[in-house]
């Protein structure tokens, strides 16, 4: 119930946070919204000696809607949901946020925190994968960027080094002739995704000219379903094509089974949710 003791820092500047990270190394954890880390600490599954709270760093909060959209890593789900310009540029973001946690979780939880934590059942990673996300990372060597497809490495493991801080996430807008959707089969109590699938389509003259599909919840990490994507490209955007492309969608994936859903069941649900997410993305196509 009560976390084990730790030292607490709430730096006001990014470089101070980085200094602290370098000083304490593996003993330190960055605190974003805290809605994954603090429960883990309360159960003593994590016992960091130092917490570095990022809430007081104004540079990490903000939303810029331009040719792409850029979101500060400490921007809360509620702030994203409340930004009408952002939601108009990326409607699937608003629809996905409604499915994340609950109102209080969204009031504290942040996009950056969710991505850096990389919970295998989190919703955001799948969405960021299909929106062609670019993650901006600050570290001792300066700023670097990582594509979302290279960011999720393994269970709760990302491309972030221990002394790096995720500062911003840049996503594609959903433009004319494009549509996207995220659907999940939520665990009835926790609302975490037993299986979640995000899909993005561009359809010109009835043909799919670009597509990205990503799954979360089924394995150790969120990942793109590149085989499904390849089957869809240059095909007509039709229900039969979606169903055929989704067949065996999980065949090449490493799928987890647990007491909530067996491996075979999750495999079957990946197929079902891939088909449904593609249908929903096609239904969400924006006018040219």
């Amino acid at each position: 119930m009560i976390p084990s003791p730790f030292a607490f820092y709430a730096p006001a500047r990014l470089d101070e946070a980085l200094d602290l990270l370098q000083q304490y190394g593996d003993e330190a954890k960055l605190l974003a919204g805290g809605h994954s880390l603090l429960p883990t600490m309360k159960l003593r599954l994590a016992t960091p000696a130092v917490l570095i709270d990022l809430h007081k760093i104004p540079d990490l909060v903000g939303i810029t809607v331009d040719e792409r959209v850029t979101i500060g890593s400490m921007t809360t789900w509620s702030a994203l949901e409340a930004d009408a310009t952002l939601c108009a540029a990326v409607p699937v973001l608003a629809a996905t946020i409604r499915l994340i946690g609950d109102r209080q979780v969204r009031n504290r939880g942040t996009l950056g925190g969710a991505l850096a934590h990389a919970d295998p059942a989190a919703d955001a990673p799948a969405l960021v994968l299909v929106l062609n996300g670019t993650l901006t990372i600050y570290g001792p060597a300066g700023i670097r960027t990582v594509a979302a497809k290279d960011f999720f490495v393994d269970l709760l493991t990302t491309a972030l080094a221990p002394d790096e801080i995720l500062t911003a996430i840049t996503l594609d807008r959903v433009g004319p002739d494009e549509g996207a959707a995220y659907l999940k089969f939520a665990h009835p109590a926790s609302r975490y995704a037993l299986v979640g699938v995000a899909a993005f389509l561009r359809v010109e003259a009835g043909q799919i000219t670009a597509c990205r599909v990503a799954v979360t919840g089924a394995g150790v990490r969120a990942e793109r379903l590149t085989i499904v994507e390849a089957r869809l490209l240059h095909q007509p955007a039709q229900a039969e094509v979606f169903a055929a492309a989704a067949q065996g969608a999980a065949d090449t994936l490493e799928i987890l089974g647990d007491l909530h859903a067996s491996e075979a069941y999750r495999r079957a649900m990946v197929e079902v949710y891939t088909r449904r997410a593609l249908e929903a993305a096609a239904a969400n196509l924006r006018a040219s």
């Binding site: 119930m1 009560i2 976390p3 084990s4 003791p5 730790f6 030292a7 607490f8 709430a10 805290g34 809605h35 603090l38 429960p39 309360k42 159960l43 917490l51 709270d53 809430h55 509620s78 409604r98 946690g101 609950d102 109102r103 209080q104 979780v105 009031n107 504290r108 109590a189 926790s190 609302r191």
Partner: protein, 159 residues
Amino acid sequence: MTRISLTVNGRPYQGEVEPRTLLVTFLRDHLHLTGTHIGCDTSQCGACVVHLDGISVKACTVLALQADGATVTTIEGLAQDATLHPLQEGFWAEHGLQCGFCTPGMIMSTFDLLQQNPDPSDEEIRHALEGNLCRCTGYENIVRAVRYAAQQMQSNQNA
């Protein structure tokens, strides 16, 4: 120990806390404001919902130190003297509780909802209560209680 100062229900408080002190522990054990409840270990039940600078949060998943300098409202801060808040009245009038353990959180969550959406549909009320668990009533009367409060608050405003 670290010194913190914050305003709770309009009154300034100061205290010394260990960094690991949760906001809910500070409210209950340091300030003796025990209306904010602890119902789970996993940030799911919502019995501990309070407002931190006007936004509903689960006080079990915020450190007391993170409320340093902030304004906190708890269930004890809703009634004006002897007059219950319309939400408190609504839970009473519509029998929105049995054991009452979840009620402070239910009220603080829907207080946040009604500030942003004074006339929510049943579906919007249920969506806003996703983070609050009740093990007695089955939610029907809770939704009615919130609707009662919304109507009351709107007619108070129009009066």
